[in-house]
Amino acid sequence: MTNKGKVNFFLYTYFPVILLFISVLSEFDFKNIELKYFSFEFSYILIFYYSLKRRDSLGYVAIFIAGLFSDVVAGSPMGMSSLIYLLLCGAAAYLRNITLSPSLFKDWIFFLVTLLILNSLSFMLLTLISNYNINYLDQLISVIVTALLYLIFSYIFNFVDNFLLGSNNAS
């Protein structure tokens, strides 16, 4: 394998993990560019997609640690994001187990339902246990936009994987 091939293989293997940690550690948010009613959780899309399509690409421990990091950056109670991420992983694994013929539309519907349930859970935990005040509308918008963008990002991730894997096979 050439050096380029090695780099591509490394990127193919660790791309999801690197992207996950960048997304949780980065302070970038679409709210910064002053688009009202536009915010989404990129990490949810990433975790769901790669847990569904490439089960070993994201380690559960890495997801757990990324959740802790996300909590620290966002200021939410420690363990909250880890719990949501892992439950999202579990949902993706369940979908993978019960699916015989994968379809993007089914994945998307399942993702939307999962997001609604998990956000309800996080909303309950934060408001009832941790006494946080959360703007319910903001969170609902975030869920809807995240679900909508899943379709776009699944194409992008698929393209990137094919590109990295393709060039790796070629070399």
Binding site: Y60, V61, I63, V72, M78, L83, A91, A93, I98, I134
Partner: protein, 404 residues
Amino acid sequence: METSRADFVIAIRSAFLKKGTKQRFSLLSLIFFSLIFLTLGELNFRVIEHIKTGIKEIVYRSSFIISGPENLIRNNYSTIKNHFILYEENQKNISELEILKSIDLSNQILILENDKYKKLIDDYFINTNEVYAKVLIDKESPFLRSVVLNKGSRNNIKLGMVVLDGIYLVGKVVEINYLTSRVLLLSDINSKIPVSMEPGDVQAIMSGNGSETGIIQYTKTDSLKNNDDDLLVFTSGAGGLFKSGIPIGKIKKENTSQKGEKIVNFYKDFSQLKYVKVLSFSKEKLALDQLSKKRITKIENQIQAINKTKENLRILLEQKEIEREIRLKIEEENTILKNKIIKLQNEILITKANKKNKIQNNEKMYIELDKVFGKKCRKTIFNNLYKYGSEQYRACVLNKGKKN
């Protein structure tokens, strides 16, 4: 039915309990671990607190590094955008500057007067423990509107300290680590600040609404209804955490939320914070004790010296007063004595005059008697009387002749 339920259970068990080839822990064990973490964190368990602090130190630094490129892009975008509106702003600024210059002087006077009156009512606070910090992370989380600063307990940052950008209030410190600290912004939904609104001096509590503005809560609706002007919002100082009079924002008369709440537009854009000032306020007396004990001692010594001099002066003045009284008494006595002397002198003169008159009268009587009785007393050849001019002769004349 039984088969589909069994399939569901198998799928769930497989998803949550089965480990992949590269997985070290099952999903369920990590979910339990997250729940334990969450629960113990809520109970402020000490070990979890230490782990939290460690993770925070790592994450804040890492996040700052990772956010470098995007911050660079964002700053460049902001710079370019600013350049486009620079000319227009410059023209506006020039005209505003002229107006502000004229207002500034009267403001200075008002500030001085305000300080003086606050000192009078013992409400004068001064800045203590002022620290400048850089904003490391500005994550606009849906849960929390906060920023992370690059100064922590090592730099004497304490919980509840006030955070300002320029002179404008930004938020307060809600979490402290050794090297970093978290600031809860005014726009956060959990932020509650006691504020005053002018004109009208309306007291209220301002809360964030999770976006870029704040809302006014807990105030009488009638007190704002009749107001047709824009309202200025600043800290009221109630509760003692914030100094009164720190500017926060403005309420435009047409700005009302759907629920009828007044919306506060902050003076500062919290998404553009770069450097902030973290400080606490304390009463002037306390601060002086801490900052310049030597100076106070010196002043106290000076005051003591002045008091001593004042006491000496008082004693000297008393002595002077006593001496004045003595002098007056002496002068009075002197006057009395002088009068006595004059009186005595007059008496002497009168006596002398009387004596002289008596002598003159005697002499006159002697001369007259001498003319008549001189012959009877004067010594001649024919008698053995007295020699003219002698005492016997004189006595003889006055006796009107020699008596036998």
